[in-house]
Amino acid sequence: MADYHFLYIDPSLGADWFLVAARRYWERFRPIVVNGFDLITYVPTHRSIAITTLARRDMAQKIADDVKKTFPRARHDPLVYDFVEEMKLTLDGRADLEQRFGVPENVTPTPTRKSR
């Protein structure tokens, strides 16, 4: 789990990609929903970042390249579907399974002793 989790929805995608497809996902995990990458650049370097991107196939490669180039230290979680309904199925499944990135996460660890 990263310190900051962004959900990138490309400006060319309609409101349904957020308000329908990602509704339950957002209600469960509350990522920061952005339409551009510039806000993400303000995260301090000592904080970790994860970026879930929603894209159709025609834009997926460019978005992936942009994320890799601009945020090489970020965990990129690309989701590529051409239709809102397909995206919703995947995101709802993640919400149901409590899997923010589509895979089981370790439970939040007990705070451990810090070393100097």
Binding site: A15, F18, I32, V107, T110, P111, K114
Partner: protein, 486 residues
């Protein structure tokens, strides 16, 4: 100052006295192998027990009690008593007690974290005067213990956040100086049945009858324990999902964790000691009964309460976070003079040797802190229209009202949707920000205080309503008229 430089017994076990001016039996404390004794005093009436406590490796903590003390400053008689206790060997002192509760304030000025000028500011200013006086005398001052109240003006997490925000905005260097010279945090962890001992695996709890203090598998780390995380993934002491937007600190170390997290975030800590100066596994049991306030965890019985009480102190010594130094159980008479006689915990503590805690050398401050760069934190003034537009769904706001009614608004304006205002601080001063807040009327004041007062250059735009239709109308009209902020 480092965590390992504080002077104490290194034994997490502790007991709170029955009340001010009431006899405190040191020999009985010693038989229970206590390492801490919390003393609420009116004046110097406990001077005679301090040497006996220290001789038995029991570290005293002293708080002078004054009725409905509110945010008052210290007085000359208090200073005299502190000096006397200090000369007898006391180092650990508290000042305010549960300042988020009405019972601690004059009737005419009830506490409310929203009232920064009349409540938070005088409390923190007078507390810093106390802390500096104690440090000057060679002691350790406590950050006030907050009662674990939830909701409204007494809400514990909101109090902690607001107190820290005030210190960060108004006394950054002063507080860091206190932190680096003997600060500790007092908490009051009354944590009910928020613990368990593992059965076959980490997510299977033993029944109360099967619990044994001298066997492993105890979980006192709520809300970070496997059961809670399976139920609410990612829940922390200060943050969580829609059910717990401010987190859940009602665990043995929860409020300490909340304090340390905010201390690290806002002041560049490090760690300072945390001691629970009231609390325990509550309410205390009676023979034949089961206490199970939280149905997700096993209850506890007359006898299992004793096993768990011994286990919690062992856990603090051997497994708990390095900054959690102990807990003084509430309170001496409830353990010894209850309606059914002494609790079995008294016997189990007497027959079980204590575990001692090894403390690593962690600095109180780990670096210069986030304010070291003297540029304004957060966004700057707006010239024309803001560079960024955030839409904040406040804690407790029904998200369905947003998703069902914001289509045109979001489609047209595409605000950045966030749940926490922490991110605002990362925006550079060269950029400006407008924030639309969707909030229920009861948290509107809190959100205003959290955003408008902390970042006065941010354009603050509040949308609130008692009914879904109220919110829907505002969003629809704005989208139709092209007015992002109305």
């Amino acid at each position: 100052m480092r965590l390992d430089e504080y002077q104490w017994s290194h034994n997490p076990r502790g007991m709170h006295n029955t009340q001010a001016a009431h006899f405190f039996d040191v020999e009985r404390l010693a038989r229970m192998h206590m390492g801490w004794a919390k003393i609420v005093a009116v004046d110097r009436e406990f001077m005679n027990v301090i040497p006996k406590m220290l001789a038995n490796n029991i570290t005293p903590i002293v708080r002078l009690w004054r009725p409905r003390f509110g945010a008052n400053g210290f007085t000359s008689d208090m200073v005299f008593a502190w000096k006397e206790y200090m000369s007898a060997g006391v180092r650990w002192f508290e000042f305010y007690n549960e300042p988020n509760l009405e019972a601690e304030w004059p009737v005419e000025t009830p506490p409310d974290f929203n009232n920064v000028a009349g409540c938070i500011a005088p409390l923190m200013e007078n507390w810093m005067d106390f802390a500096e006086k104690i440090i000057e005398m060679g002691g350790y001052p406590a950050f006030p213990a907050l009662a674990e109240a939830v909701g409204r003006g007494e809400d514990v997490t909101s109090w902690l956040v607001t107190m820290f925000a005030y210190l960060s905005d108004n006394a950054y260097d002063r507080f860091r100086n206190i932190a680096n010279n003997g600060l500790w945090c007092a908490t009051h962890p009354y944590f009910y049945n928020h613990f368990y001992q593992e059965g076959a695996n980490a997510r299977q709890a033993r029944s109360p009858e099967e619990q044994r203090a001298d066997e492993g598998g105890w979980h006192f780390e709520y809300p970070y324990d496997p059961l809670t995380q399976a139920d609410h993934p990612g829940l922390t002491a200060v943050s969580g999902g829609p059910d717990y937007p401010l987190g859940d600190p009602i665990g043995l170390t929860g409020m300490g964790q909340a304090f340390i997290l905010k201390f690290q975030e806002l002041f560049g800590g490090g760690a300072v000691p945390v001691v629970g100066t009231e609390g325990g596994i509550t309410p205390v049991p009676s023979p034949g009964g089961v206490r199970q306030l939280d149905q997700r965890f096993p209850g506890f019985t007359w006898n299992s309460h004793a096993e768990a009480t011994v286990a919690l102190f062992n856990w603090l010594a051997q497994i708990g976070p390095p900054w959690m130094f102990g807990l003084t159980l509430w309170k001496d008479d409830e353990y010894w003079e209850g309606p059914s006689g002494p609790l079995p915990a008294t016997r189990r503590l007497m027959e079980t040797p204590p575990a001692f805690k090894s403390v690593p050398p962690i600095d109180a401050l780990e670096g210069p802190g986030p304010h070291v760069v003297k540029v304004p934190v957060g966004p700057g003034p707006i010239h024309g229209s803001p560079d960024y537009h955030f839409l904040v769904v406040a804690p407790g706001f029904n998200t369905a009202w947003f998703f069902d009614n914001a289509r045109d608004y979001w489609e047209r304006f595409r605000p950045t949707v966030i749940s926490s205002t922490d991110y605002i601080a990362y925006l550079p001063y060269a950029k400006s920000l407008g924030i639309t807040v969707l909030a229920t009327p009861d948290v509107a004041g809190f959100m205003t205080q959290q955003i408008k007062q902390r970042w006065p250059t941010v354009y603050f735009d509040l949308i609130t309503g008692e009914q879904e239709a109220d919110v829907a109308t505002v969003l629809r009209e704005r989208a139709a008229s092209g007015r992002r902020f109305g």
